[in-house]
Symmetry: C2
Subunit: 209 residues, 2 copies
DNA sequence: CGGCAATTCAGGTGATCGCCTGATGGGCCG
DNA sequence: CGGCCCATCAGGCGATCACCTGAATTGCCG
């Protein structure tokens, strides 16, 4: 029985290469390639493929969002994350959300093919390189909602006082959260706190402002 | 006459996909694929290909470093940058350095093929998407050597005083440079200064510490 | 129900920052 | 040679930060 596969990746080379690789297999047919998250959700809902290969970084919606939304509309579709820049947090979030397979783009082409096959066969498959990421000293800093809000306010250039105003709370509360964050990240200045947050994947420099 | 091409990319899918695409052409032969910068330099020096396709982000040495080093040993080789995450600064640096072609990975496969063909033919080719990047409001903030040193010190968590000590200058001098930087970046806190520097490509969060 | 964590806020203190003016010397360029 | 920029440093001042203790409220989980 031929498996119908959808590929969602905004990098033409990757989707093209993967499509070529998978098309060479007899029991697999690539029915669609899309280049952004929104389109991926729409197409998965419409075509209900047996398997969807998702990039994480896509315009419109990221891999996690596509996965969560799409599986509501196409519960029988199995999902493989194929990402180039995966952090421990990203992989963990995807696995926690129940994704069926994870592969990194720096793996070999046989690696992803094998993962897709296994996932299509109903198994769960985490690629060796992705598994390595998960084993890493989790370095997971638990940040609460309000702490994150304060973090983003500081990133926008706010002082304690102006951040307080924009969040509608007392400057002292902002101070509390900021101090708490600095303790968690083991830094002693707001400046290096931001850098640490960027490194931890909590802040995206490009998306501020 | 068949062109001998080398591909350097640490993403297996990309190098594999590009190799497949180029191999389909009659007058092109992919003689080698490498996955890191050091290996790229060695192989280019050894094989002296007609054309080398370089990723920017690679372990060992980045695309710019590979280009600068390799052209000394193989002056007749023509170089194409193929990158997924290009900033205005990156592209400009490469073009300034005299690279022959620039293509982004989010382009179509025909785009890169066309660029490689043109570069092999002796022309200079900048892909449409890369050209778009260069047209962007250059947003180039000129930073002096000492300012950059101060910036990195702050990024490492130093205060004015401790940064001064590590640089062997007066705290007041550090203060001057930091103030000057904040003026240039149009921010009013050290924290958002760091974020702005990251956005501008002057700091790499991953490489601090 | 009782502990626990998150969130909120207060008061206080010393260190540091952000920014100002102003000065000195070196290097480059027309 | 006279600007001009860079790097160096000084003094000073008000705002802000970094960090402390302590405390009230809420909601969740066992």
């Amino acid at each position: 029985m031929t498996k119908r596969i959808l590929i969602a990746d905004d990098h033409a080379f990757v989707s093209w290469g993967v499509a070529k690789a998978l098309s060479a297999l007899e029991d697999i047919e690539v029915i669609k390639s899309v280049a952004n998250g929104i389109e991926a959700i729409i197409e998965i809902r419409k075509t209900k493929p047996d398997c969807a290969i998702l990039d994480y970084n896509m315009p419109g919606a990221n891999g996690l969002e596509v996965f969560l939304e799409s599986k509501r509309w196409s519960p029988d579709t199995r999902f493989v994350l194929l990402t180039g820049s995966a952090t421990t947090q990203t992989v963990n979030a995807l696995v926690d959300a129940g994704i069926h397979g994870v592969a990194l783009k720096d793996g070999t082409e046989t690696e992803i093919i094998e993962i897709v096959r296994q996932v299509c066969a109903g198994k769960t498959a985490i690629g060796p390189s992705a598994r390595l990421l998960m084993r890493l000293p989790a370095e997971t800093v638990a940040v609460t909602d309000r702490e994150l809000a304060v973090l983003q306010a500081i990133a926008r250039g706010h002082t304690n006082a102006s951040a307080a105003e924009s969040l509608g709370i007392s400057p002292k509360t902002v101070d509390s959260h900021r101090t708490s964050l600095m303790r968690k990240f083991d830094v002693s200045t707001s400046a290096s706190l931001l850098l640490a947050a960027v490194k931890a994947g909590l802040l995206d420099p490009a998306s501020i402002r």
